[in-house]
């Protein structure tokens, strides 16, 4: 076993992780910071974000309006102190990224350009064509290379948090290329491992989005907050689930049902206009748009396809010039992956799992209840996203809370003593567990893919856009059975070198935990709010559920749910109004 020591360890090399690492390097240059990631940082899923990142910059806009849009968009489940901090720090973070070289689109006079986005009352979404996440990630990664203090462990897969003395003191990881087990001790650990869209079958998320960090924290006794809130993006390509950015609608695209009718007007989202209107119709929030699709499907006004029903996203009227300059990636993706040219044809789209509003329970500094453990980005739940995240808030969240968590973790680390030697014994135990349960394991009858498929089907049936008690209860039982079947998983690959069957098995075990947390949280919340719609409890219930759910892992592995009241500062719960 290799043993490494550092002061601050960042798990995950996406937007939040790299921002956190740079924050540590800039604010406490004397601290040794390490970024560990199961992929090379530039492969992280931040790369796939398309539309943009929100921050108030233009005259006529205000921080309060950004806060209000975010809070009402989140159906009042956001912590308002967190949202206020978020909108306040967002502009400086975005300018900082500009200074680091991000190729933001510009106005003719050289100032940064912004575009409209769903659920936002003003134009405040910064964008780099429709590859914003790609540019953001590569800018951060390339900038991170200049800090000699930032050390990287690329392609190392974390399997356990080292916790001793009620303090997180490092991780155990497998170096994929060699199979070597690493114990990395740290005075503070920041989890920036993204969401877990892969618990669902049909998702925009990349293969690596298995909620590793969420599960690591959950197993270490930290609560997962608001896990029942799963965002469906209204426009994904059927079969592949490839994201067609909201920017396509922000630039003026229409959603049409099989009759060519802009059906959103039937769902209290406003009246159709030729030009896009902010917070109206196609620029409504994602939860409402995805729900409208389901209602259209019930009315049999969607189009039947080999991969389920779909509707059309029509951008043809924008013209080739606008499509090529504002949403070139949309065109590239449609041509390559759907064999459709959006300049001439309508794009088939359907709702697709996109984002976890929930995640590791943190305060507004990114600190979890476990001392020494921090989290940021999609893996964390601060919460600024509440019951439904607004498009273009998540990239900004990675920057603002990545930086916050980095600074907080660095400050914590600089006041800590060296990790206890006892954690190394834990690391040895973990090595033995990995070898016995996986690497040396003979026999077993269950295929990883069979179990994963079963889990994904259960999740789609029970925890999709509309839910009810009986299917959720059934899902609980089925997931418990899957957990038991997982113990009998068969592994063909006993190699130490780049063993991706081993990582697939570990990822599946992470996802099974999270699937249980999602279903358990969804079952307990007997109301409908934002992305969580219960057909058996259709109304919002602020009296009982103006509160975050906290899922903790109990002894038998099942989740135990508590509630924590939402922090309300200036915006008492009200009605969500779009298009009126």
């Amino acid at each position: 076993m290799d043993v490494f020591a550092c002061d601050v360890l960042v798990v995950g090399g996406g937007g939040a992780g790299l921002r956190a690492a740079i924050a540590v390097a800039e604010t406490f240059p004397s601290l040794a910071v390490t970024v560990i990631s199961k992929v090379y940082p530039m492969r992280s899923h931040t790369v796939s974000a398309e539309g943009g990142a929100a921050a108030v910059i233009k005259p006529g806009d205000s921080l309060d309006e950004h806060a209000y849009d975010t809070i009402s968009g989140g159906d009042w489940l956001c912590d308002q102190d967190a949202v206020e901090a978020f909108v306040r720090e967002a502009p400086a973070e975005m300018v900082q990224l500009e200074h680091w070289g991000c190729p933001w689109n510009r106005e003719p006079d050289g100032h940064v350009a912004v575009r409209p986005f769903g659920g936002m009352k003003a134009q405040r979404t910064w964008f780099a064509a429709d590859k914003t996440g790609f540019h953001l990630l590569h800018t951060l990664f390339q900038t991170s290379l200049k800090y000699e203090g930032i050390r990287r462990h690329d392609e190392c897969f974390v399997t356990k948090l080292l916790v001793d003395d009620s303090r997180c003191q490092g991780v155990v990881a497998i170096e994929l290329a060699t199979g070597q087990i690493q114990a990395i001790t740290a005075k503070a650990v920041i989890l920036c491992t993204g969401g877990c869209g892969k618990v669902f079958p049909f998702t925009t998320n990349a293969a690596i989005k298995n909620g590793d960090g969420m599960s690591l924290a959950y197993r270490a006794g930290v609560a997962l907050k608001d896990m029942e809130f799963v965002q469906y993006h209204p426009t994904g390509l059927p079969f592949t689930g490839i994201l067609i950015t909201e920017a396509a609608r922000a630039e003026g695209g229409w959603l049409l049902n099989k009759d060519g009718y802009r059906y959103l007007q039937d769902y209290d989202l406003g009246t159709p206009e030729l030009k896009p209107v902010l917070k109206s119709m196609e620029l409504g929030p994602r939860d409402r748009l995805s729900q409208a699709f389901m209602k259209e499907q019930e009315k049999e006004r969607t189009i039947k396809g080999p991969y389920g029903d779909y509707v059309h996203l029509d951008v043809r009227h924008l013209g080739e010039q606008v499509i090529n300059t504002k949403i070139p990636f949309v065109r590239e993706l449609c041509l390559k992956y759907a064999h459709v040219d959006p300049v001439k044809e309508m794009i088939p789209v359907r709702p697709v799992v996109h984002y976890m509003m929930g995640g590791i329970h943190t305060d507004i500094h990114g600190a979890t209840p476990l001392p020494g453990l921090y989290a940021a980005g999609e893996a964390a739940c601060v919460s600024i996203n509440g019951a439904n995240r607004l498009g273009s808030n998540s990239l900004t969240e990675c920057l603002v809370f990545g930086a916050r968590a980095g600074k907080a973790a660095a400050a914590f680390a600089s006041g800590q003593s060296e990790p206890n030697p006892a954690v190394l014994a834990q690391a040895h135990d973990e090595q033995r567990r990995l070898e016995q349960q996986f690497l040396f394991k003979a026999g077993g009858t269950e295929r990883i893919a069979t179990l994963r498929q079963a889990m994904q089907e259960i999740m789609e049936q029970s925890a999709g856009i509309y839910r009810d008690a009986s299917t959720l209860q059934q899902a609980e039982g089925k997931l418990q059975q899957l957990q038991e079947r997982f113990a009998d998983v068969a592994l063909e690959d006993h190699s130490y070198t780049f063993n991706t069957e081993l990582t697939a098995a570990l990822e599946l075990s992470y996802m099974l935990d999270l699937a249980q947390a999602i279903v358990g949280s969804a079952l307990q919340r007997r109301e409908s709010r934002g992305s969580h719609q219960r057909t058996d409890h259709p109304g919002r219930d602020d009296r009982q559920y103006l509160a975050h759910s906290l899922a903790r892992r109990s002894g038998d592995g099942s989740p135990r749910i508590d509630y924590l009241p939402v922090k309300v500062t200036r915006w008492p719960p009200g009605e969500r109004i779009y298009g009126r």
Partner: protein
Amino acid sequence: MPPTIALDVIRYRPERNEEPSFQTYEVPFRDDWVVLDALNYIKDWLDGSLSFRWSCRMGVCGSCGMMVNGQPKLTCAAYLSDHQPGPIRVEPLNYFPIVRDLVVDITEFLRKLTKVKPWIIRDQVWPVEEGEYRQTPAQLDTYRQFSQCINCMLCYAACPIVGLEPEFVGPAAIALAQRYNLDSRDEAAKQRLKILSDHAGIWGCTFVGECTQVCPKHVDPAGAIQQFKLTGALDALKSLLLPWGTR
């Protein structure tokens, strides 16, 4: 019987094999499947021990580059239907050491990338409170193309110089250096020229041009390198004619 297609896939497990060899798998043929879907089918249902990298399946993470019938390709964008009737030959990217099966070692690339200083360098750094640096759309256009590199390494696998001269910094890293050189916010073009003015740098390139041909993002690294050479040559000429310099 539903149609199938054969894949001849390179296997190499350092514990067991002296050298790589092909293994053939028969997978279902579907019109909308890409080579990566076929590999995942193998991994899930036929042989769990096959190792390869992949992630986004939308051509932007840069993980899944492999040689498909001898050509470097993103396997998420290489349709089975374009390679009928098969068998389709799937190999790890050319010129990189093979770690295992279809996985290659790219640590050298990371070292080379860092060497060219791919970040903004300037004498006067504005405080964030001063707002953004101004950059017109025309200035953005000069480097935008070179900023599209996803580090997928296809250009390295297409470049024989990379194979012949392992120290060669290579297409993607030089294109990224040029991306920063051309950025109106950056002031370190001279530094990067100094780093790259040798046979491991721009002068190693003999303009085969294949890097540009295989680039899935139309970055045109060959163009970047030739333009870099032009600046380098003019710079050398200037210092020859005006040795006392004007800088």
